[in-house]
């Protein structure tokens, strides 16, 4: 037990000291999540970026700018005309509004005054929204200045209890499954392959420690680390993308641990069957990559052609992704996801048995 704990602690220490591995295990999934989240996830949440050019420089034009800056849904930049037009051409602005010189004088004199609005037309929907937003705001201001009462008042009611699952809620359990898979295939299994290559396993063989004890503490540290990965991923998802986890955390942990063990077993098998660490790494990538794309990690397999769907149902990663998604989003119980658990558990048993058979000390 003393040796079990000590090896466990040192294994965690070694993992935490591998800077590069930490990047791939912890930071990269977060980056991937951010990228996917921005590209596919939250189109409804995008803020319009408006450039304001004040050629008038009066108190009134300043008041207009202040009014714009007070609107939460807009990101407002104030600059000179040339710079703002250039920013718009670069796609950095959804629209630019130019307040002409003499704007306030004409207003004071009671004359009609015009402002110029340039809209970024590259995306039609956004262009429409930008245009009507700018018109709406200017209309409101005009109304306020001219003191004409509003005839129709819009009353807003907020409905909080909406059952909407966005892409992000689908994608995050998928990314978690992917991270667990790659962690299992390439992490500790490759570490052991390295130990074999460097002769560390032989050094352990001549000591009185039993190999099962050594491996068990290593696996325990892998499991603890995978829980940590899951926690970081889900916490990040909740904070940044308002991920809604409606399932039981204990069930999530069970799936994370089982997924981790079963892909680790496959990783061991790969490491036992390949000649050295390098080829083990390549083999793990070759197995992991297609699984990542075909198992409904980033998009539901319901959307793909039937033959691909059949392939997906043959891949173990599909079952981990499915189980995590069911438990996290649909509040499923472990009983409901029995098939996922059975597939992962079965794979763990078969792969561990096979890697025990093919294990090599050197």
């Amino acid at each position: 037990m003393r040796s079990f704990l000590k090896i466990f602690v040192y294994d965690l220490k070694v993992t935490l000291r591998q800077r590069e591995a930490l990047f791939w295990l912890l930071i990269f999934p977060l980056l991937l999540m951010v990228i996917l989240g921005i590209v596919f996830g939250s189109a409804g949440d995008v803020k319009l970026k408006i450039g304001l050019v004040d050629l008038d420089g009066s108190e009134i034009s300043q008041a207009v700018i202040n009014a714009f800056q007070g609107i939460d849904a807009l990101v407002v930049e104030v600059g000179d005309e040339e710079a703002e037009r250039a920013a718009l051409r670069d796609g950095d602005r959804n629209g630019v509004l130019i307040i002409p010189a003499g704007f306030s004088e004409r207003l004071m004199a009671g004359k009609a005054s015009e402002v110029t609005v340039i809209i970024n037309q590259s995306e039609l929907t956004t262009a429409q929204i930008t245009s009507s937003t700018l018109r709406g705001i200017m209309g409101k201001m005009e109304q306020a200045m001219s003191g004409v009462p509003e005839l129709i008042e819009v009353r807003e009611e907020e409905e909080q209890d909406v059952e909407d699952f966005e892409y992000i809620d689908f994608m995050i359990p998928g990314i978690l499954a992917m991270v667990i898979m790659f962690g299992g295939l390439t992490g500790y299994a490759l570490e052991i392959a390295t130990y074999r290559e460097k002769g560390i396993l032989r050094r352990i063989k001549v000591s009185s420690l039993s190999l099962p004890t050594f491996l068990a503490s290593g696996i325990a540290s892998v499991l603890v680390f995978s829980l940590l990965q899951a926690a970081v991923l889900l916490a990040f998802g909740s904070l940044v993308f308002k991920l809604k986890i409606s399932g039981n955390y204990l069930y999530i942990a069970v799936l994370v641990l089982l997924g981790s063990v079963s892909f680790l077993a496959v990783g061991f098998l790969i490491a036992s069957l390949t000649k050295n660490t390098r080829s083990a790494g390549l083999a793990a990538q070759a197995i992991g990559m297609p699984m990542m794309f075909l198992s409904g990690i980033f998009f539901s397999v319901e959307w793909v052609p039937a033959p691909v769907r059949v392939i997906a149902h043959c891949l173990p990663l599909y079952y981990l992704g499915d189980g995590l998604r069911e438990v996290m989003i649909n509040s499923a119980s472990l009983f409901t996801v029995w098939l996922d658990l059975a597939v992962l558990g079965g794979m763990a048993l078969v792969a561990f048995a096979a890697s025990a058979k093919f294990f090599r000390w050197e």
Partner: protein, 304 residues
């Protein structure tokens, strides 16, 4: 009881007879060397004793314990330095020793090992910051972690510069003081001669000679070479006639003679010089080495 007893040990790899009928006994508290060229079977022999390799045939006991049927008990009383162990890069020297100490039911304090291996100022350094010599010393410290009765050192100083080699020898000398039995392999003549009480010379999987270094030299190459100058030089014929001289060779006023009875020959040299009015100067006597023994037995040099 012998510390190690090996009987008719064999290990074949296909047609290659890596170890071909080796028998030997290592006494307790002895520093025993296995000397031989690369590929002689030294490491394979050692690894079978260390429980790392399964012999094809033969018996091995360590302090009376059978290596095959009592492997676990053997592992507890032996300490092994492997020829090539690379450690876990992410750990420091102290952590490496601490980690390995939990591989045994009983272990020495890490600080004591660090002291013995002279790694005090490197205790908190990562493995990849160590020099070759420091790396070897750490691997020796690891071999001592369970306070073993029998220590195996496989080429402990190979690849090290003379300075670093000397520090390894100091550590081995300390092991002798502690009363440990040490069995080491080497292809350095000087290492075998300086460190070992007894040496087995191995070639092509067989032991071709066994004994104390001076016994081996006395038995196989008893001749010494004496080099000296005679001023003025004398005829080489006269020098060849000196008592005990087996062969003589002159190079201007410098003479080389080979003799099995150096004392007699030295007296003869002085007597001859005195009689002929010549002066004998710069007298050097060189005994044969284990290298000469190996040369004599195999017709080859150990390090070719």
């Amino acid at each position: 009881m012998s510390a190690i007893s090996i009987r008719e040990l064999r290990k074949y790899y296909g047609d290659v007879k890596a170890v071909d009928g080796v028998s030997l006994d290592v006494e307790e508290h002895e520093i025993f060397g296995i000397l031989g060229p690369n590929g002689a079977g030294k490491t394979t022999t050692l690894e079978m004793v260390e429980t790392l390799r399964e012999p094809d045939a033969g018996e091995i006991t360590v302090l009376g314990l059978d290596v095959r049927s009592q492997a676990r008990a053997v592992k507890e009383i032996i300490g092994v330095q492997l020829q090539t162990t690379v450690f876990i890069e992410e750990l420091t020297v102290w952590e490496t020793l601490d980690l390995f100490s939990c591989f045994y039911p009983r272990s020495l304090p890490v600080d004591e090992l660090i002291e013995l291996a002279e790694l005090k100022d490197k205790a908190t350094s990562r493995i990849n910051e160590l020099s070759g010599g420091q790396h070897k010393r750490l691997s020796i410290a690891l071999a001592l972690i369970n306070d073993p009765k029998v220590v195996f050192l496989d080429e402990p100083s190979t690849g090290l510069d003379p300075q670093a080699r000397l520090r390894i020898w100091e550590i081995v000398a300390r092991l002798r003081e502690q009363g440990k039995t040490v069995i080491l392999t080497t292809h350095y003549i000087e290492e075998a001669e300086r460190l070992c009480d007894r040496v087995a010379i191995m070639d092509h999987g067989k032991i071709i000679a066994l004994g104390t270094p001076s016994h081996l030299i006395g038995e196989f190459v008893p001749e010494s070479t004496i080099t000296f100058r005679l001023r003025p030089p004398l005829d080489v014929e006269l020098v060849s006639g000196i008592a005990g001289v087996e062969s003589a060779f002159a190079d201007d006023d410098q003479f080389h003679v080979v003799t099995a009875t150096p004392q007699e020959t030295l007296v003869g040299i002085f007597t001859l010089a005195h009689e002929k009015g010549s002066e004998a100067e710069e007298i050097n006597m060189k005994r044969a080495s284990l290298e000469d023994v190996f040369l004599k037995l195999t017709g080859r040099r150990i390090r070719s």
